[in-house]
């Protein structure tokens, strides 16, 4: 095993750890927005580490640029869609909290 293989194994293994952390956060965190926070950051860091680790194995500039482009697309998509999903989830989240706190703070808003 040469040095490049070792670097690849370390980086892809670290990427897997971040993917597991992202899934654990998605399953364990208490509300929608903290789950979104765990998902979008940890997973894309894991994907970046795996892409970086594989870049050491490809040996051609074309493949390396393509790996970088895939990661860039994933990051841009995650940044955009996490903002959109967070804004969609906000009204439902507020309604759920209002229900949990009883009707003392939100009762005047619930006249419909």
């Amino acid at each position: 095993m040469n040095v490049l293989d070792f670097v690849t194994i370390v980086l892809t293994g670290a990427g897997l750890v971040f993917f597991i952390a992202g899934t654990a956060g998605l399953l364990r965190f208490p509300d929608t927005h903290s789950r979104l926070h765990a998902l979008t950051k940890a997973d894309n860091l894991g994907l970046g580490l795996i892409a970086l680790g594989l870049a050491f194995q490809s040996g051609s500039l074309y493949v390396i640029v393509k790996l970088a482009l895939i990661w860039a697309l994933a990051i841009l998509a995650a940044a955009t869609t996490s903002q959109l999903i967070a804004r969609v989830a906000l009204p439902a989240e507020l309604r759920r909290q209002r229900g949990k706190n009883g009707l003392k703070s939100g009762s005047e808003n619930e006249t419909r």
Binding site: T8, F19, L26, L36, L54, A77, L84, I85
Partner: protein, 99 residues
């Protein structure tokens, strides 16, 4: 080296399967859509590993398309979830506060 990639891809698939638990539990549609996003990101990583495992780098195009479609799926969800279908959640939030 190929065995390492395949083992990694298998563990990654199990991790992605964990997202299905969140799809089952919910509670809201946004939580379920986040699981779909996780499956998209994890699927891209699995395809990258498969491409490396048999040195067939043409599979990177599949990963690129999957990343694009995962992004479009989330945008489509947001457009469908907003009341007027225009995809502006802020207008719905204001309407919810006034009602």
């Amino acid at each position: 080296m190929s065995a390492w990639y395949l083992a990694l891809a298998a563990i990654l698939l199990v991790t992605i399967a964990g997202a299905l638990i969140r799809v089952h539990r919910g509670p809201g549609p946004a939580d379920r859509m986040m699981s779909a996003q996780l499956i998209g990101t994890g699927g891209v990583a699995v395809i990258l590993l498969l491409a490396a495992s048999d040195d067939d780098w043409a599979k990177l195009d599949v990963a690129l398309v999957l990343a694009l479609l995962a992004a479009f799926a989330s945008v489509a969800f947001v457009k469908a979830a907003s009341g007027d279908g225009l995809g502006d959640p802020e207008s719905d939030a204001d309407g919810d506060a006034e009602r």
